[in-house]
């Protein structure tokens, strides 16, 4: 039955977002981008893509940071167009998507304040999709209680903050804990919201969010090696969902090094294939080297999942997937731009292709 009414509320937006998807840079275009010698060449090449209107009025020697900012502008403009034209229940779904950015912004501001950076600089670095009214006031917060009472209490994130209140003061570790706790609460909430949306949104988003959750779980595990985070605390940070929940999470919580993580991951067909296909360098035991490639594997897998989401119609997952793909594309462009501007052409092909 839902399908009958789907187009009344979301048909236009779905059409738009599929159009956006078709605007994503394709393999031959990436080929052209990677062959560029200078940033100007890159700009010229990008002039044939959807980024053209945002780049055409930039004076010619363009820097990587401006490029990245303009690309983000393009993303934001498209997303905001979707938001402005949306009605319930799509608007709610899109709002949920922005919460992730809000969390990032909150953490950025708190960290910045901790290091006594200028507030206005920090505000400029915030992701425009994650803006909320009281956000700028974060800069006065000095402890968690304060943070919640002053700013977060009437932001959409208030509900997620409840679990963080136990932390006492703000230091590096606590901020990381706050970030992960927030994200955990966010993912769980988003997941339960998606489940309430009914098929096929629920099943498609479940897959995407489970993957996201697994990725976070693995990242938390790897990042907590060599820190003072206790294993129990670590387990508390894992989102309570995902393919690896709960059995593998319990084991991950006890893991001590990369090899253990890998062996746990290998018990899951999908992840095992992922790891094998990327043939991780067994010799580099150091967390740094293999960590990097693991991230790339996750990115590649995410791209695949998000592409798959477009195979089905009448669900909201396309909005989420498109945003993720677009983000990946911007990461790719910035990577290529960095390689070009730093004359590291040998690494230029290490982007994650999408289409």
């Amino acid at each position: 039955m839902k399908e009958i009414y789907f187009n009344a509320d979301a048909g236009y937006l779905e059409g738009v977002v599929r159009g956006y998807r078709d605007g994503l840079i394709t393999a031959p275009q990436y080929m052209n981008l990677t062959q560029c010698e200078t940033m100007d060449d890159l700009k010229l090449q990008l002039a044939t893509t959807d980024y053209a209107p945002f780049l055409q009025n930039e004076p010619s020697p363009i820097s990587t940071s401006t490029l990245s900012a303009r690309c983000t502008d393009a993303l934001v403009a498209e997303f905001q167009y979707l938001q402005q034209n949306s009605a319930e229940p799509v608007s709610r779904f899109l709002e949920y998507i922005t919460y992730g950015y809000m969390i990032d912004n909150v953490i950025l501001l708190i960290t910045g304040t901790l290091h006594e950076r200028d507030t206005h600089d920090l505000l400029e670095k915030c992701h425009p999709l994650g803006f909320f009214d009281t956000m700028p006031a974060l800069c006065v917060a000095t402890n968690v209680q304060d943070l919640y009472n002053t700013v977060m209490v009437d932001s959409p994130l208030a509900g997620y903050f409840r679990e963080c209140l136990s932390a006492e003061d703000l230091n590096e570790l606590n901020i990381e804990i706050i970030r992960n706790t927030l994200y955990k609460a966010y993912l769980e909430d988003f997941y339960s919201y998606c489940q309430s949306c009914g098929e096929p949104t629920s099943s498609i988003m479940a897959e995407l969010l489970k993957f996201e959750s697994d990725r976070r779980t693995v990242n938390i595990t790897i990042n907590s090696f060599g820190t003072e985070l206790s294993k129990d605390d670590r387990a508390k940070l894992y989102p309570r969902l995902g393919n690896m929940y709960p059995e593998a999470q319990i084991r991950l919580a006890r893991a001590d090094d990369m090899d253990q993580v890998k062996s746990i991951l290998e018990q899951y067909g999908d992840y095992k294939r992922m790891i094998l296909s990327a043939n991780m360098n067994a010799s580099s035991d150091s967390a740094g080297g293999s960590d990097m490639s693991l991230e790339d594997i996750f990115f590649a897998n995410e791209v695949q999942l998000n592409k798959d989401a477009f195979e089905q119609q009448f669900h909201f997952g396309v909005f989420y997937s498109w945003l993720r793909l677009k983000e990946q594309e911007i990461r790719n462009i910035v990577w290529i731009a960095e390689c070009i501007s730093q004359q590291q052409k040998d690494k230029v092909n290490k982007y994650t292709p999408i289409y």
Binding site: Q35, Q56, P59, T119, L123, C139, D146, V151
Partner: protein, 882 residues
């Protein structure tokens, strides 16, 4: 080879008409590199040559002239910047257009000059704008400061005024305030109701309880408690006030008081382009640290803070000083702005010219990027398509370009022989353009193919008019279209509007449709659904009416009505019967004629492509098939029309039995061949004739189906048996006479037309075609009945409209009649125009379109060509404008 005939004629300028597309030549130009730019520019002005991309495999930024393209991209960006600045400061862009500078060829030095000028202008405008923004920022600060001073002092005045009257009941009010935070309990910081006011209960209570009397002016606490209550003042965007208050309230745990006043006028903030509404606010908080906090929060939320003194006199002084500084700044700002406007005005005079030049130059370099260098890189080689007739014009353009460049090395042009399918170029004019567009929307004609556009020019409006036959409606339509045609230069702007463009570009179509509708209206004897009695009718109604409900019969007079339908039919009871039968038959007759024309057009096609087989084994059986069934029907229709079925012989007996039904005749021709019912007989020998025709038609089916494929197979086998194989299909592309240096463009390897012979394939195709043709000849004939259906609908609709809206008002009597007639006419006319002419016209248009695309075109037209798109500045500039 299909094009050999065309090639044979190239030397003696082939005649051109819209009947076939132009004969095209693939030409190759050897352009010395120093003249290249001039040559391409000259060719762009002429717009006669479509360049081929010779660097297909080279990506955009690796081509030779990419730096030049980039240079003009940059210039265009600068111009765009200048234009936005001009638009933003409301300077008019001059429409003045330096034709000379644009049209003449420009040397590299002119371009350098222009680049320098544009650069300088951009620099200056950038600097002036930056300075202007700076000043505006200062101006903004001063204005905000002024507002803060004004508003805050009014706050203070208010407070101190209240304080004197309310000092006494303060302690009492404290208890009340803590109970409920009532509004009137805060004399200290209350404001008159006209000003927006926020107060927070517990704070008020704290104040009242602590202070009792707080002398704001003096900044000391009357009650003797030494609490350091300070305040900060500033300006913030109006929609942020609530947030600010909320955040402050929370983070200072309620130990603050905020009051704000909306600044009435919007303030233009140079950071945003539009004016912003702001509010001045004051926050009281006690304690240094809390104040710092408040400061930090307000700044983070985007407020600008200004210092305001507690002392009223000092505030007054400050205000006066601010005002005077504001005046000074205003002066400077105006001067600066004047200089900026002046500069921009200067730019605006040239802007359009520069834009055009830059776009042209960019197009030139884009085109140069399509060209190839020869081996020793002093020549550029271009390849492209042009009409063979235009080669002399191109050659003269090449000469001109060489002269312009002051070079004495001429550009060499030669024609290449090729088997490539050339693009299709149909030379149209204002009149034929619209009709050709109708055809192109179905498919662009293949090179050399008969172009249906020629016939469409007349058949289209004619078929339309058959469905739209009304003299009055046709007249209105003609007038509208004629106005569009007469004032076409003045109305050219219509073409820019998306919905009006259709009417503007199709104005000649509409004109013809209107004229033809007047003609058919005359034949149908319809003017706004009324009949015209221009001549004396051939019928006479009996003079005694007989009364209501009595059927009267008109008597026939000696003569026939000279043109069209006799007006006497108009009110006859059987008028519908008559017109229906008449229009239905007319549709069939015209439809068969139209289709016959379509089938016959296969002949010129077959002659042109030298395919005799298509005439003998496709065209002939098809035409026989069509004529033996539907041609016979047409004959029967005409025969029936020509016979007087009620004629009586000398003895007064009817000479004919009764008029036969043609539909039955056609059906029984198939069902019971060889016999015709006595009542159905029209002439002697009918049965025999019908049998022969039927047999003929049946014989045509296997003829169409089998003969052509088997002939093709025999020919193919003959070629094979003679040992030629497939070599015949490999004709190499090469220049006719080898160029000096022998630099021949290598384009031979490009896709050759392989005509692999596959008998099964041909057989299947032929089967499909045959079945399609036989079925279509029936369904298409029926499809032409839409001519009748639509014209019936049109006539009935206009009749209804007349009797429902206008007619009643004419029958009225009394004083109101004039007004009723006026209104009735207005309604009738508006509906006539919008529904009958607008919507009915559109529907008739679409049906005429369908009859052309489906019923006519599929008889002979491939429409698989590609359109000729010459490199022309005009199209490039038009595109850039949009």
């Amino acid at each position: 080879m299909p094009f050999t005939r065309g090639w044979g004629q190239t030397r003696s300028r082939p005649k051109t008409s819209i009947f076939r597309s132009e004969i095209m030549s693939l030409v190759q130009l050897y352009i010395p590199s120093d003249v290249a730019r001039f040559t391409v520019s000259q060719l762009g002005e002429m717009g006669l040559l479509q360049f081929r991309d010779l660097n297909d495999d080279v990506s955009a930024f690796q081509r030779s002239f990419v730096n030049d393209v980039r240079r003009f991209d940059e210039l265009e960006r600068k111009l765009r910047y200048l234009r936005t600045q001009i638009e933003r400061s409301d300077v008019d862009i001059y429409d003045f257009f330096n034709e000379e500078a644009v049209a003449a060829s420009r040397g590299p030095r002119d371009i350098d000059d222009m680049e320098e000028k544009i650069g300088a202008h951009e620099d200056r405008v950038l600097r002036l704008t930056a300075a202007y923004k700076d000043l505006q920022l200062k101006h903004l600060e001063l204005i905000e400061n002024k507002h803060v001073l004004e508003e805050v002092s009014s706050l203070f005045v208010e407070i101190s005024g209240r304080q004197q009257t309310a000092a006494a009941p303060a302690p009492a009010s404290a208890s009340r305030a803590s109970a409920g935070g009532a509004h009137d309990s805060v004399p200290l910081l209350g404001r008159s109701d006209s000003l927006s006011r926020r107060s927070i209960g517990s704070l008020d209570a704290a104040y009242a309880g602590d202070a009792g009397g707080y002398d704001v002016e003096g900044g000391r606490i009357g009650g003797g408690h030494d609490i350091n209550i300070g305040f900060i003042t500033g300006v913030i965007r109006r929609d942020r006030v609530a947030t600010l208050e909320r955040v402050l309230w929370r983070s200072l745990r309620g130990n603050m008081f905020l009051n704000y006043v909306d600044i009435e006028e919007p303030i233009s903030d140079p950071k945003h382009d539009e004016p912003v509404y702001k509010s001045a606010f004051i926050v009281f908080a006690h304690g240094e640290s809390l104040r710092d906090r408040a400061t930090k929060i307000s700044e983070a939320l985007g407020a600008t803070l200004y210092h305001v003194d507690r002392n009223a006199e000092r505030r007054q002084e400050e205000l006066i000083e601010t005002m005077s500084r504001l005046d000074d700044l205003q002066q400077i700002l105006e001067n600066n702005n004047a200089a900026r406007i002046n500069e921009l005005t200067n730019v605006s005079e040239q802007l359009n010219t520069w834009f055009t030049i830059v776009r042209k130059e960019k197009a030139i370099y884009h085109t140069l990027n399509l060209l190839n260098y020869d081996a020793n890189r002093n020549c550029l080689i271009a390849e492209g398509w042009c009409a063979t007739n235009d080669i002399p014009a191109i050659q003269s353009a090449l000469h001109l370009a060489t002269e312009d460049a002051g070079s004495n090395v001429p550009t060499v042009l030669h024609e290449l022989r090729t088997t490539k399918e050339p693009p299709t170029f149909v030379r149209t004019n204002r009149f034929t353009d619209g009709f050709q567009n109708i055809v192109d929307a179905y498919g662009v004609p293949k090179a050399g193919e008969v172009n249906p556009g020629l016939f469409t020019c007349i058949t289209f409006p004619f078929l339309f008019a058959l469905m739209f036959g009304d003299l009055g409606h046709g007249f209105l339509m003609t007038i509208c279209a004629a106005l569009l045609c007469i004032y076409e230069k003045k109305l050219a702007w219509l073409a820019k509007d998306e919905s009006l463009r259709m009417f503007y570009t199709g104005r000649y179509i509409v004109l013809l449709m209107g004229i033809f509708s007047m003609y058919t209206g005359l034949l149908y004897n319809d003017i706004f659904s009324r009949a015209m009695s221009m001549f004396s009718s051939g019928w006479q109604w009996p003079s005694d009416q007989g009364g209501e409900g009595v059927t009267v019969e008109a008597t026939k007079l000696g003569h026939t009505y000279p043109v069209g339908i006799d007006p006497a039919w108009h009110h006859a009871g059987n008028s519908l019967l008559f017109t229906n039968s008449y229009k239905m038959k007319m549709s069939i007759v015209l439809g068969i004629i139209h289709m016959t024309l379509g089938i016959c057009l296969q002949v010129p096609n077959a002659l042109y492509f030298k395919k005799r087989i298509n005439i003998v084994h496709v065209f002939v059986p098809q035409i026989i098939f069509l004529f033996s069934i539907f041609g016979y029907l047409v004959f029967a229709i005409l025969f029936k029309w020509c016979t007087d079925w009620y004629a009586r012989d000398a003895a007064g007996e009817l000479t004919h039995i009764s008029p036969p039904s043609l539909l039955n005749m056609l059906i029984y021709m198939f069902l019971s061949p060889g016999s015709v019912g006595e009542s159905e007989r029209m002439f002697r020998g009918q049965a025999a004739l019908q049998t022969v025709l039927l047999l003929l038609a049946l014989a045509c089916v296997p003829w169409m189906l089998l003969v052509k494929p088997f002939i093709l197979r025999r020919e193919h086998q003959k070629i094979i048996s003679e040992g030629y194989g497939r070599i015949s299909s490999h004709v190499r592309v090469s220049s006719e006479d080898d160029a000096p240096g022998g630099a021949v463009i290598v384009s031979e390897q490009e896709e050759m037309q392989e005509d692999d012979f596959d008998f099964a394939d041909i057989m299947i195709n032929q089967t499909i075609h045959t079945i399609e043709f036989c079925l279509n000849s029936i369904s298409n004939t029926a499809s032409y009945l839409r001519l009748w259906a639509l014209s019936l609908a049109h006539a009935q609709l206009s009749e209804v409209l007349w009797t429902m809206t206008f007619l009643p008002t004419l029958k009225m009597s009394g004083a109101l009649q004039p007004i009723a007639i006026f209104c009735g006419f207005a309604v009738w006319f508006v509906l006539t125009f919008s529904i009958l002419i607008g919507m009915e016209g559109l529907s008739a248009f679409l049906h005429a379109l369908r009859l052309h695309w489906v019923e006519f075109n599929n008889k002979f037209y491939d429409g698989t060509g590609t359109k000729f798109e010459p490199f022309a500045f005009k199209t490039i500039l038009d595109e850039a404008e949009e």
